[in-house]
């Protein structure tokens, strides 16, 4: 039965006359069929949150219940696409509507015409379980799209098509279970607010390598882990998110631009197809899905965009891939929540945010994880969420609720950013709770002494902060030589190691082995100079050896040339070792 609109207040619309409305069902509102979701039911009226601009919508217009919750379409064709917050493809909207997005655009998420080359992987007559692979489609040069038995289905394969080209809504297999038959297509649907099931969550033991020295060395995030990046504007949140999307070693990247700048999405769209994945040399766009709800797009769809993103990520996780979700920025999502909650006239909690803010943030990050998926294999979804605290003050509710559930905290610092120390991750108050769990991996795969080198570097930086307080009081000259050495080494660590130039073609990415070599050589210089000081060599003499400019160049040295440069530096270290007390 068709309902009608009886009240409009911004994106919140009251509808009467729907037959048995259910929470979270999608309703099409008005002549333009704007997409909305039922967020509250009051007696016979349904309160609908509309995902599009409601300007011009009239009292008395029709409303049709789709009888389905907000869902996304899952199947080949997702990778390389750019969707809005409710998974409408923006490229198709451009073709249909032109430069500007108007309300009520109807476009399928997945292309219904395009044919995909499907290769069956099971024989007819085989018993299959939910999540089991029955075939495969080569989606992009990087991703083999595994076609799985949908969740909640199982049975005997009664029929499966031959290898060939099929569209997403052609039947490719028929299962029989308890005399009932189920058709399987390349495309399935899944409600975004429900987490896709896994067999069990596993503890994270492998790092998600990002090629960013301060992250991989000091504050690593695990594959399947969660990280929060809070920082004031201009501190480089988005650049970090872009760097991770470019260089992290996940198989699939889902980038959610939530309430941020339109030009940032454009930047990804223009640079990613040209950038090469460091592992395979293939274009980065071949592993990336973009979801864009820019700050001027409807606010309700911003609330949904985060869920759309994580659902697509879970879908690829269920094929056994490692997926990383970048959400930039979760604060905008929380603000959308606040705005909608205000329009629903709910009792506000802290700073006007709804009382359920913490629970919603928790639910979202809990969808991350390294997991044994239904097929028994292992997949992972990592979530890295940017937070934009007002005035950079992280005592506000969104930051605090996020820090409670995430295990890595990269604290971006305005004063570092102002001194153009990028990434502006403050080494003194950031943390990673994965460090211990990942040490074993680093020892085994990179070097036995990795954790010790890292801890020593960290200790040096801590010590520098203490010494700097003393310098403020007594001046540099009054320091003991050993403290001066600490300052020298810490400066090397800060400027030549932690700093990384995202816009330099070499420095933008450093493999873990390059990171190790750089850290190791800085440590060798430290040890050699320390020994020299103990032999009473004056520090001025050590400072006059031109070793530091060479170390500073290592950042810009290509991976294949690094060993040669290290050999040169080794010679200088030998020179330090031979220094004597003579002037």
């Amino acid at each position: 039965m068709e309902g009608k609109v009886i009240g409009i207040s911004g994106s919140v619309v009251t509808v009467s006359g729907l037959e048995d409305p259910k929470m979270n069902n999608i309703v099409f509102i008005g002549e333009n069929e704007l997409v909305g979701e039922i967020v509250k039911i009051e007696e016979k009226n349904a309160i609908v949150q509309v995902y599009e601009d409601t300007s011009g919508l009239k009292i008395g217009e029709k409303a049709v219940d789709s009888k389905e919750p907000l869902s996304v379409e899952l199947g080949p064709g997702l990778i390389g696409s750019i969707f809005d917050g409710i998974q409408r493809p923006l490229d198709k909207i451009l073709n249909k509507e032109g430069t500007f997005i108007s309300s009520g655009v109807k476009v399928n998420s997945l292309d219904r015409e395009k044919k995909w080359h499907f290769k069956p992987k099971v024989e007819e007559g085989k018993a299959v379980e939910a999540g089991e692979e029955i075939g495969e489609v080569k989606e992009t040069s990087l991703i083999k799209h595994k076609v799985l038995v949908p969740v909640n289905q199982k049975g005997i394969v009664k029929k499966i098509v031959e290898e060939g080209d099929y569209t997403v809504d052609e039947t490719i297999a028929v299962l029989e279970n308890d005399k009932k038959t189920e058709e399987i297509k390349l495309m399935t649907k899944w409600p975004v607010r429900t987490a896709r099931p896994v067999k069990e969550k596993l503890s994270p033991t492998i790092p998600l390598l990002t090629g960013q020295r301060v992250i991989d060395t000091m504050f690593p995030v695990a594959m399947g882990g969660t990280a929060a990046v809070p920082g004031p504007f201009g501190s480089g949140k988005t650049v970090i998110q872009h760097q991770l999307a470019k260089w992290s070693d996940a198989d699939v990247i889902v980038y959610v631009g939530c309430g941020e700048r339109g030009n940032e999405m454009t930047e990804i769209l223009t640079t990613f197809p040209e950038l090469k994945d460091p592992k395979s040399g293939k274009p980065l766009m071949d592993r990336t899905i973009l979801i864009a709800n820019t700050s001027n797009m409807p606010v309700a769809a911003r609330e949904a965009s985060i869920y759309t993103g994580i659902t697509l990520a879970e879908y690829y996780r269920d094929m056994g891939y490692s997926v990383a979700v970048m959400a930039d920025s979760t604060s905008r999502w929380a603000e959308a929540l606040r705005e909608l909650s205000g329009r629903l006239e709910e009792m506000p909690g802290e700073e006007g945010y709804p009382a359920y803010l913490g629970r919603r943030i928790g639910e979202f990050y809990e969808r991350a994880g390294r997991a044994r998926i239904l097929s028994g294999k292992i997949g992972a979804a990592t979530i890295i969420g940017a937070v934009s605290p007002p005035g950079g003050d992280i005592s506000e509710p969104v930051s605090q609720n996020t820090l409670r559930v995430t295990r890595v905290f990269w604290a971006l610092d305005a004063s570092l950013a102002n001194a153009r120390h990028f990434p502006s991750i403050n080494w003194l108050n950031s943390y990673s709770l994965y460090t211990d769990e990942l040490d074993q991996w680093y020892r085994k795969n990179i070097a036995e002494d990795w954790p010790e080198l890292r801890d020593k570097a960290m200790a040096t930086l801590q010590k520098e902060a203490e010494i700097n307080e003393i310098v403020q009081l007594v001046g540099y000259d009054a320091l003991p030589e050993s403290d001066k050495l600490i300052l020298d080494v810490a400066r090397m660590l800060r400027e030549d190691y932690l700093q990384q130039n995202a816009f330099d073609e070499t420095d933008t990415y450093a493999s873990v082995s390059k990171q190790y070599k750089m850290l190791k050589i800085i440590n060798e210089v430290f040890d050699a100079e320390k020994a020299a000081l103990e032999r009473n060599v004056p520090i001025e003499k050590l400072q006059s050896i031109q070793i530091k400019p060479k170390i500073a160049r290592l950042r810009y040295t290509k991976e294949e040339e690094i060993d040669d440069k290290l050999k040169e530096i080794e010679k200088d270290i030998e020179a330090i070792k031979k220094t004597s007390t003579e002037k």
Partner: protein, 459 residues
């Protein structure tokens, strides 16, 4: 669509009308209110249900009553007639002429709220705009289609700076179809006259469209005004292929008006009484800057805002900074030391700088020089505060160089005349000259080949 007239006003507040039993009102529908004395005021539908429709009045509700005031629903959202006749004209906050000329008539009408640009349709802004101001061109480069606000404080030289940018802004490559749209939001008439005079002197006036809402005029119009200005800009950019610079001053007055309306609507206030949706609302203005595929033109925004008590964490500059592609921050300390333009380069930022600089647009060493100047100036300023405690003698030789550099940088690089138009080459060369007062071994951010090629060290 026929207009329906109602006389069923139930309640009047200082900005809202509550009208009973309106049939089929539409959200955001435009409304005309007619008073007993024949005076007409416009308004817009804010919320509606079967019983009551709430109308927001643009202007004063003085004289409105429940007995004789009539409300007409226009059956359409707020649209503005657009044509090339707008150029050279001055309008008020509702788009009515305030220069004595005739109103704009055109069959082409555009919705003043615009529609969001499809992110897929955007083109990455990458064309360098030379403003002739070193602290902007070298350190915080402006590109076409960018939104780069000026964060200022009361009494600082933001108007002068904006006028100088308009005067000098030209692209390196060619001089083309170029327009200025100026939106004066709640400014006083002296500031308004300053801009109009400056535009006249530089010849920009005949290529500009001006919207003015002065401090004494209704604050509700301030919420409409920037939307009119941006609609005019979009028309020129996307229909007439022009490059448009939009100056909106002062966005702080806009935010104040937004707060006033929000309070009148009894909304739950967010930080410091500003509405919770202020981020979204400001974004719906600022995101209208840009460049789109398949069109020649571009909309570049230079909004000006005065930070209340120079506090950059105040909600207005804070939310703006999260939306815009950087910010030019003016410093009171520099201004006090007689340095114009007092751009605080450490707090300023242009996020689109990288796309607009380098070998093919400015010069290959631009990024490196800029980074090194930043780092050196930051270090110099840090040492300046240190010497206040320990004295200059306690500094090492290198540190003294940095200290000296910071002075020179402020007095020779940042400081320049109102009529001084420096080319990017002049600016970069000046940067090298200043850097050469520091030891070459400190140049960690510059590639050795550039030091070789452009460095001014005496060997």
């Amino acid at each position: 669509m026929e207009e329906i007239e109602y006389k069923t006003i139930e309640r009047v507040t200082n900005v809202l009308l509550f009208v009973k039993d309106v049939k089929n009102a539409a959200y955001n529908e435009q409304v005309e209110i007619e008073l007993e004395n024949g005076k007409k005021v416009s308004g817009q539908v804010l919320a509606t249900n079967e019983d009551v429709t709430i109308v927001q009045v643009f202007g004063e509700t003085t004289g409105m009553n429940t007995q004789t005031t009539k409300v007409r629903f226009k059956g359409t959202t707020f649209k503005m007639p657009v044509s090339m006749d707008m150029v050279g004209r001055v309008f008020d906050g509702l788009g009515r002429p305030r220069d004595g000329g005739i109103p704009i008539f055109s069959d082409e009408k555009m919705d003043i709220n615009g529609s969001p640009i499809n992110p897929y349709a955007r083109e990455e802004p990458s064309e360098f705009v030379q403003t002739g101001i070193s602290s902007i061109d070298c350190m915080n480069t402006l590109v076409r289609g960018q939104k780069l606000p000026i964060f200022s404080g009361s009494g600082l030289a933001h108007n002068k700076l904006a006028a100088q940018i308009v005067k000098q802004a030209k692209i390196l490559a060619e001089k083309e179809n170029f327009y200025v749209v100026f939106g004066g939001i709640g400014i006083n008439s002296e500031d308004a006259n300053f801009f109009i005079n400056e535009f006249q002197n530089s010849g920009a006036l005949e290529r500009s469209v001006i919207f003015l809402n002065l401090a004494a005029e209704p604050s509700m119009e301030r919420v409409i005004l920037p939307r009119l200005a941006l609609t005019a800009a979009e028309y020129l950019a996307y229909e007439k292929n022009a490059h448009v610079i939009v100056i909106l001053s002062d966005m702080t007055n806009y935010a104040e008006a937004l707060r006033e309306i929000s309070a009148a609507r009894d909304e739950v206030p967010g930080r410091r009484g500003y509405p919770g949706y202020m981020y979204t609302d400001l974004a719906s203005l600022f995101e209208r800057a840009g460049k789109v595929k398949g069109k020649e033109g571009s909309v570049t925004q230079l909004p000006i805002l005065t930070m209340p008590s120079d506090d950059i964490t105040h909600p207005i500059p804070d939310l703006t900074g999260y939306i815009t592609e950087g910010q030019i921050v003016l410093s009171r300390a520099l201004d006090k030391s007689g340095i114009y333009p007092g751009v605080d380069v450490l707090l300023s930022l242009s996020r689109l700088m990288n796309q607009g600089i380098g070998k093919d647009s400015t010069r290959e060493d631009h990024r490196n020089v800029s980074d090194q100047l930043y780092a050196a100036y930051a270090k110099g300023k840090e040492l300046r505060s240190l010497t206040e405690i320990v004295g200059e003698d306690a500094l090492s030789k290198i540190d003294k160089q940095y200290l000296h550099f910071a002075e020179e940088f402020e007095n020779r690089f940042i400081k320049q005349g109102f009529n001084e138009d420096r080319s990017i080459t002049e600016t970069l060369d000046l940067g090298w000259e200043l850097l050469s007062s520091i030891d070459k071994s400190e140049m960690k951010r510059i590639k050795p080949e550039f030091i070789e090629k452009y460095g001014k060290w005496k060997q």
